[in-house]
C-alpha cells in the first residue's frame, strides 16, 4: 500500500492506482472529460492536470494516468492548476461552444466567454470533441479495431477505414454509447442487406426474457454478443458487482431421478394461414391473437400502443372468433378460451384507442364465474357483436371498390343479411391445438392420446389429472383447451396427488407380479430377452432364471410364453383365468 497526501488529506491506496482514483477515494473532485473506466486512460483533455510535489520539485502531471508513489504531495487546486484548467477550458469552449458536455464543464470551472477565438469553431451541439473514447472502446473493449484517428495537428479527425462503412464493424453500438456529445448516432437502415423487420426478439444481447419469469435473471444471447465474436468487450462482467457473469457456461443435459412426472407441456396455436380466406400472412394488419397480445404488452415491440403496420392508430377493428375451432376441416372441438380473450381485447382496445370494434362470433361462450357479467359490461361499452361466422377478409369490396381498408364479409344470421364491414385491423382468435411434438412425448412416457390429440387422462370424469401409467400426471392445455382458472385447479390437484405419494414415503406397487418357481424352471432362457423391462436375469450357478420384483411391471407376457409354465402371474395366474373361463361358460 502507498501513502500520499492529496490537498493535505492523507490517503492509502494500493500500488498501481492512479492519482485520480486516489482522489476519488477521499472525495476530492478532479475534472475529467476524456476519461472512461472501460479502457486505459487516454489523457488528451489534460483537464485533470494536478501538481505533484516530491521534495522541493513540483511538476504538472495528469491525474488520470499518473501512478501514485510513496510520500508525494498532490495539489489539485493550487493557483497554477486553476489557471491551467481555466485556460484549457477556454481553448475547448472556444472551439466547441454549444456542446452540452463542454458547457457543463465550463460552468463547473466558471469559465465565461473564451478570450481566444478559434478559426475551427464548430457551433453544432453534437460536434466531435476528439476525446478518442469511441476509438479506444472500439480498439480495447470491443477489439473490432474499426474506427481510428487520422491526419495530424488541427486537421485530426475520427475516420472509418478508407472513409467507407467497413464490414469489420459489427454494429455493436459501443462507440455511439460512449460518445459524450452524441456525435455518433445509430442509424437503423438497410445495413448488410437486412431490413429491420418487426422483430419480437430481444433488443440487446443481454436481456431478461420476461419480467414475470422465474427466476427473473438476465440471459446472454450468444449470437449477438460481441464477446463470442471478438473475444473482447466483457463490459457486463466488469459492471456486475457480484461477478455473476460466466462466459463459459454451456447448455447441459441434466438427468434427475424422479418418482413422478407432471406433464404440462402446453399447446400450440392454430396456424391461421391455413385458412387462406382470412388472409393471415398475406394481408397487412391481420394479426393472430398471440401477436395482438404481444402488441398489447408494454414490453412488446410497440410497447403497448395499438398501431397498424404503418404506425397509425386504427379507426376500426374486427375480431373474428373460432378461427380453426369448431370446424370439421380443422379442429372440431371448441377451444373454450377464445370468446373471453376476444372480449378482453375489445375492452383494452376501447381503453387505448377510440376505434370501432366488431366481434364476429357463433356462440358467445362466457361460461365461467363472472364471465357473463363481463360480457354485458363490454356490450355497454359499445362493442358491436355480430352473430355469424366470417366468410372472408379481403381488400376489395364485392363491388370492386378498393378502399385501402380490410373488408370483412360475413352473414349476420340474426338479421339474416350479408354484411361487408370495412375495418383497419383484423384479429383472428386462433384455435388451441396439441403441440406438434405431442406424439413423441406421449411415446416417451407411454401414455395414450384422446381423439382430439391431447393427452388421455386416466378417466375423463373421475380422474382427469393422472394417466394410465402410474406416476405420470398431466395438467393444463396439454390435456385439452382450458383457461387459466381451470388450469390452476387441475395443476394443483396433480401437485396434491404427487405430494400425497411423496409424503407417504413409499409407493405401493400393485401386487400384480410374475414369479418363477425354481423347481419347474428348466433354464431355457426364453423369458430372458422377452421382458421389455429386463427384469429377468439368468443365475449361472443354479442355471435358472429369476425375476427382479422391483423392475417387473406384471404384464404377464413371460407367464404366457414359458413352455414349462414355471412362471406364475400373481393376480392373473393361469388357474384364476381358467376359473374365470369356466365361470363365464358355465351356462
Amino acid at each position: 500500500m502507498i501513502t500520499l497526501k492529496i490537498d493535505g488529506i492523507e490517503v492509502q491506496v494500493p500500488e498501481e492506482t492512479t492519482v485520480l482514483k486516489a482522489a476519488e477515494k477521499v472525495g476530492v473532485w478532479i475534472p475529467t472529460m476524456c476519461h472512461n473506466d472501460l479502457f486505459e486512460p487516454y489523457a488528451v483533455c489534460r483537464l485533470c492536470s494536478v501538481e505533484v510535489v516530491r521534495g522541493k520539485r513540483s511538476r504538472v502531471v495528469t491525474a488520470c494516468n499518473y501512478p501514485v508513489s510513496e510520500g508525494i504531495e498532490v495539489l489539485t487546486d493550487s493557483e497554477n492548476i486553476r489557471w491551467i484548467r481555466k485556460f484549457l477550458m477556454e481553448l475547448i469552449l472556444s472551439r466547441w461552444p454549444n456542446v452540452k458536455v463542454v458547457k457543463e464543464m465550463a460552468e463547473k470551472l466558471n469559465v465565461g466567454k473564451p478570450r481566444y477565438e478559434s478559426l475551427e469553431k464548430d457551433e453544432a451541439e453534437d460536434a466531435c470533441i476528439l476525446c478518442g473514447q469511441c476509438v479506444n472502446v472500439c480498439r480495447e473493449v470491443v477489439q473490432a479495431n474499426v474506427i481510428g484517428f487520422s491526419y495530424r495537428g488541427i486537421k485530426r479527425e475520427v475516420v472509418l477505414p478508407l472513409g467507407e462503412q467497413s464490414d469489420k464493424c459489427i454494429v455493436c453500438g459501443a462507440c455511439a454509447l460512449v460518445c459524450p456529445t452524441g456525435h455518433i448516432k445509430m442509424v437503423i437502415e438497410d445495413y448488410k442487406g437486412k431490413k429491420p423487420e418487426f422483430t419480437l426478439g430481444p433488443k440487446t444481447s443481454i436481456y431478461v426474457p420476461t419480467m414475470q419469469g422465474i427466476p427473473r435473471v438476465p440471459v446472454i444471447d450468444a449470437e449477438s454478443c460481441i464477446h463470442f465474436k471478438t473475444g473482447g468487450c466483457e463490459v457486463c462482467a466488469k459492471v456486475c458487482e457480484p461477478h455473476a457473469v460466466n462466459y463459459d457456461m454451456k447448455d447441459e443435459i441434466v438427468e434427475i431421478d424422479v418418482g413422478q412426472i407432471l406433464l404440462s407441456t402446453g399447446y400450440d396455436i392454430f396456424d391461421a394461414s391455413k385458412m387462406t380466406q382470412f388472409g393471415y400472412g398475406r394481408l397487412n394488419d391481420v394479426y393472430s391473437s398471440l401477436e395482438f397480445e404481444m402488441m398489447l404488452s408494454s414490453m412488446g415491440p410497440t410497447s403497448g400502443k395499438v398501431l397498424t403496420k404503418d404506425g397509425k392508430e386504427p379507426r376500426s377493428i374486427g375480431i373474428v372468433h373460432c378461427v380453426g375451432s369448431r370446424d370439421t376441416n380443422h379442429h372440431p372441438y371448441c377451444s373454450r378460451v377464445c370468446c373471453m380473450y376476444a372480449l378482453k381485447f375489445a375492452h383494452l382496445v376501447c381503453d387505448r384507442t377510440d376505434a370501432e370494434i366488431y366481434q364476429f362470433y357463433i356462440d358467445m361462450r362466457a361460461f365461467g364465474k363472472g364471465y357473463e357479467e363481463f360480457y354485458v359490461r363490454i356490450l355497454d361499452e359499445g362493442v358491436k357483436v355480430i352473430r355469424g361466422k366470417v366468410a372472408e377478409v379481403s381488400e376489395v369490396t364485392s363491388s370492386g371498390e378498393y378502399k385501402n381498408q380490410l373488408i370483412i364479409r360475413c352473414e349476420d344470421t340474426l338479421a339474416g343479411k350479408i354484411l361487408e364491414v370495412p375495418v383497419d385491423m383484423v384479429i383472428l382468435c386462433n384455435a388451441i391445438e396439441p403441440r406438434k411434438d405431442i406424439d413423441a412425448v406421449r411415446r416417451l412416457f407411454s401414455i395414450s392420446k384422446s381423439p382430439d390429440g391431447f393427452f388421455l387422462e386416466r378417466h375423463p370424469k373421475l380422474d382427469p389429472t393422472s394417466t394410465m401409467s402410474d406416476g405420470i400426471y398431466i395438467a393444463g392445455c396439454a390435456q385439452g383447451p382450458k383457461d387459466i382458472p381451470d388450469t390452476v385447479a387441475q395443476a394443483s390437484s396433480a401437485a396434491a396427488r404427487i405430494l400425497s405419494y411423496i409424503s407417504k414415503g413409499e409407493v405401493e406397487i400393485d401386487p400384480v407380479r410374475a414369479w418363477i418357481d425354481d423347481k419347474y424352471c428348466a433354464g431355457c432362457r426364453i423369458c430372458n430377452n422377452l421382458c421389455p423391462y429386463t427384469a429377468i436375469d439368468f443365475i449361472e450357478e443354479k442355471k435358472i432364471s429369476q425375476i427382479n420384483d422391483v423392475l417387473c411391471k406384471g404384464c404377464g407376457t413371460c407367464v404366457a410364453a414359458c413352455p414349462a409354465s414355471a412362471i406364475t402371474g400373481k393376480g392373473f395366474s393361469d388357474a384364476q383365468i381358467v376359473a374365470e373361463l369356466e365361470g363365464l361358460l358355465a351356462i
Binding site: 395414450s448 392420446k449 421389455p532 407376457t557 393361469d574 374365470e580 361358460l585
Partner: protein
C-alpha cells in the same frame, strides 16, 4: 330358440378394457354375448386359454390390445400378434374355423370402434353356428377323431 353365440374376450387393461368401458359410459349399444376377461396386457393371453375356452364351449374368441406402439408395457401387443398367427395355423388342424379367433387393436378412446367390432364379430359367429367342440370329442373314438381330421 335361436343360437346365442358365447364369445370370450380377453381385453388388455390399459386400452381395450377402458375403451369398452368408455363405450358403456357413452351409452353405445353393443351385444351382450361378449364375456370379458381383463388381463394386464394382451401379451398375457396364453394360447392354452383360448383352446381351454373353445373346449369349455366358447364359440368365438376376441382379443383386444393397444395399438402397436401404445402398449403400456411397450411390446406386449407384438407378442400377442405373433401367438395369434401361430394359433390360427393350429386351429385348422383342430377343425376349428379360423374366423372364430379375432385379434383387434382398440385404444382407450375408441369406444365406437369397440361397439362396431363387438356387433360385427357376434354376427359373424352367429352365422358360423355353434362350435360344440367338446361334444365332437365325446361322440367319436379317439382313433376315429384322428382319421376324421
Amino acid at each position: 330358440m335361436e343360437f346365442e353365440p358365447r364369445i370370450i374376450a380377453f381385453f388388455c387393461n390399459w386400452c381395450t378394457y377402458t375403451g369398452a368401458d368408455l363405450a358403456g359410459v357413452s351409452r353405445l349399444k353393443s351385444p351382450a354375448n361378449i364375456r370379458v376377461i381383463r388381463t394386464m396386457c394382451s401379451g398375457r393371453v396364453d394360447p392354452t386359454f383360448i383352446l381351454k375356452a373353445f373346449e369349455l364351449g366358447a364359440d368365438g374368441i376376441l382379443i383386444g390390445g393397444c395399438h402397436p406402439g401404445d402398449c403400456h408395457y411397450s411390446e406386449g401387443n407384438y407378442k400377442a400378434l405373433r401367438r395369434v398367427h401361430l394359433l390360427r395355423k393350429m386351429l385348422q388342424s383342430f377343425g376349428i374355423d379360423e374366423k372364430r379367433l379375432r385379434l383387434e387393436w382398440i385404444s382407450a378412446s375408441e369406444g365406437d370402434v369397440y361397439q362396431h367390432v363387438a356387433t360385427e364379430f357376434t354376427a359373424q359367429i352367429r352365422s358360423l353356428g355353434p362350435l360344440n367342440w367338446k361334444q365332437r370329442f365325446e361322440q367319436k373314438e379317439p382313433k376315429e377323431q384322428l382319421i376324421a381330421v
